[in-house]
């Protein structure tokens, strides 16, 4: 049976080239970079190279900091909690603006901050699944400490107008953080050009290793450290450096940047082919306009077919996808994205996300199209809410 991985927004395969770059730093060059001896300093050239690769790929300037963290969840927590410590606890500010469709590592921190007395505005998205800059402007007050808006959405792939939002924030003198997890490696990301103050990212979303991510901090921006200790990363984040992880992340970012054009052409073509084929099935929908999405993502909705049931059938055929409307989840009434973009209630539990990568092949997409159609046919035949008569054998 063919195995097809179409859940690349959850995590990706480590690129074999990345693995090869990391390999010497596991058993051979294993010193602590902070040590004085040769074992330690032997790690420095590779670490410097990795930092160069990241600064280059993200368009950061030398006066900026790209601090390596353990994951984007850490980076998001760091920005939100330290802005609270630095600007809100002293009474200077009291307000944070974010969106209704952020990753839980932003939303859950905001909820926690609310319990500590911070005012948080959760901006709704429009029918295209994005928040526009003028909406952000409308909600900024003198007391706003931070705007945190994702660069691209994990479920829909919708790309937010970060440059315009940055202009608004600059004009109003408010700090801007963006969760760049779903953007880095999928679309061109230039932090200097975009004008953001902070950006989170995670290596395992662009064919790097798990357990390593980063936070871009624009030059001159202060941010209280959350991890105190040995003063690594210029004192901004302590903890022995994850040498193989950093080397891997640098390589992965360099490769992702190199493959951006491929992503834009090849991956987009395969995604569009898959999306077109699914939309050929009656009563199916996709969320958000294609030209404003990351090239690898499509969130589809199949009337009459519950999302998890669809995942089950795909998985039986060796295909991995995901749904934001898991019926086992304790607090999800429906996929919040589907509600946010104004899909009718009947569709809220039918969303299935398919996310490709540069390793996805044409044969895999052809196979998926075939399996998807059969699964829809089977599940609609069982469905109590979709009037559908399956073709009789031999009829």
């Amino acid at each position: 049976m063919m195995k097809v991985y179409l859940d690349n927004n959850a995590t990706t395969m480590v690129d074999p080239e990345v693995k090869a770059a990391m390999d010497p730093y596991v058993c051979e060059i294993y010193g602590n970079p902070n040590s004085l001896h040769d074992f330690g300093t032997a790690t420095h050239p590779a670490l410097r190279k990795a930092m160069d690769q990241m600064y280059e790929a993200l368009g950061a300037r030398d006066e900026d900091d790209i601090v390596v963290t353990s994951c984007a969840t850490e980076s998001n927590n760091w920005v939100l909690k330290s802005v609270w410590l630095d600007l809100i606890q002293n009474g200077e500010k009291d307000h944070i603006i974010t969106t209704e469709v952020e990753h839980p590592s932003v939303t859950a921190v905001c909820r926690w901050l609310e319990s500590r007395g911070v005012r948080v505005t959760y901006l709704p998205v429009n029918a295209d699944g994005i928040v526009e800059a003028h909406t952000v402007r409308d909600f900024i007050t003198d007391k706003t400490a931070l705007v945190s808006v994702m660069w691209a959405n994990n479920e829909t792939g919708a790309v937010f107008p970060i440059e315009q939002i940055a202009e608004v924030c600059k004009e109003k003198g408010v700090l801007l953080h963006t969760d760049g997890v779903q953007a880095v490696g999928k679309i061109p990301v230039n932090v200097t050009k975009a004008g953001v103050d902070f950006m989170s990212f995670s290596a395992h979303k662009f064919h790097g290793p798990k357990g390593v991510g980063g936070l871009y901090i624009r030059g001159g921006r202060s941010l209280t450290s959350l991890l105190h200790g040995g003063e690594q990363m210029g004192g901004r984040r302590s903890g022995t450096l994850n040498v193989p992880g950093i080397v891997g992340m640098g390589k992965a970012m360099e490769l992702a940047n190199y493959y951006l054009r491929f992503e834009e052409q090849h991956v987009r073509r395969l995604r569009d082919k898959l999306e077109d084929a699914i939309l050929q099935i009656p009563d199916t929908y996709s969320v958000g306009p294609r030209d404003n999405r990351t090239p690898n993502t499509v969130l589809v909705s199949v009337r009459g077919v519950e999302g998890e049931a669809m995942l089950w059938d795909l998985n039986r055929a060796g295909i991995a996808a995901s749904t934001g409307s898991a019926c086992a989840s304790e607090d999800l009434e429906a996929n919040p994205i589907m509600i946010a973009v104004g899909a009718d209630n009947e569709l809220a539990h039918t969303a299935v996300r398919l996310s490709l990568s540069r390793f996805t092949t044409e044969a895999e997409i052809d196979y998926t199209i075939d399996v998807f159609k059969k699964a829809v046919e089977r599940l609609r035949a069982i469905s109590s809410t979709y009037a559908y008569t399956p073709k009789k054998e031999g009829a």
Partner: protein, 327 residues
Amino acid sequence: MAKSDLIGGSIWEEYSQKVQDLMNNPRNQGELTEEDAKRLGGELIVADFGAESCGDAVRLYWIVDPKTDKILDAKFKSFGCGTAIASSDTMVELCKGKTVDEAVKITNIDVEKAMRDEPDTPAVPPQKMHCSVMAYDVIKKAASLYKGVDMESFEEEIIVCECARVSLSTIKEVIKLNDLKTVEEITDYTKAGAFCKSCIRPGGHEEREYYLVDILEQTRKEMEEEKLKEQADKQASGEEVPFKEMTMVQKIKAIDKVIDENIRQYLIMDGGNMEILDVKENGEYTDVYIRYLGACSGCASSSTGTLYAIESTLKQKLDPNIRVLPI
């Protein structure tokens, strides 16, 4: 939290083989028509329960023999996840051949047990138990249509937790008998709220009429009121309530009474007086804050002899752990 909770598993890994097989190949999926009913000589019943917008919907078809009330054939259709399909299928299997009255007695727990591979291993993970509840509800719907009565008439009592089938009266009784103070304790004692968790508080998977948080609050309030009433009854019947067990209001009243009856007159005779400012629980002590008035304020004895007299009277009449603090 413990070792087994740290790395989350996939809920799919917890499905029994039977559940998985039924998800893949349900036996009773499909429709029954008037022609089928005519052929079998029965009455066609079509019952819908749930809604697509809630994420779960099921339609049950029965053909019932009007003379014997026996279910001659049954089929289902379902919008829902795999466990909803498997539960519906099992429910239909259990209905077949039973009378309508017997079928109404099938519960979601019967459905879940029928899908187990091993008698002691649940067929589905806790958060999927509610899928079998839907299968149970639709039977009642079908029976109500057949008999022309309300669905509620099949439910003898109010069920708060559908997954574990725990009634409102059971939950209230357990709270009162065991003096339960948290929802977690209720779950430990009754299993209510242990599965899909919808019944714990609003905002869960599905909307409920009763939530454990509210039941707990209401029941604790009732317990408090019952205790008050009991004490008031005791006092009214002349029975002494120990100072320790009194409510704050009762304590203040009691202190006031002792001071009025035993102390105030002597202070007034000397051209002074006192007032009670506050009474506070301080661990095992009850601290009574007072202020002297008139001649008492500034009197040398007010912080020695008089204070000692007030305190020892209160100690003797009410409780040895009373402390009097002049301000």
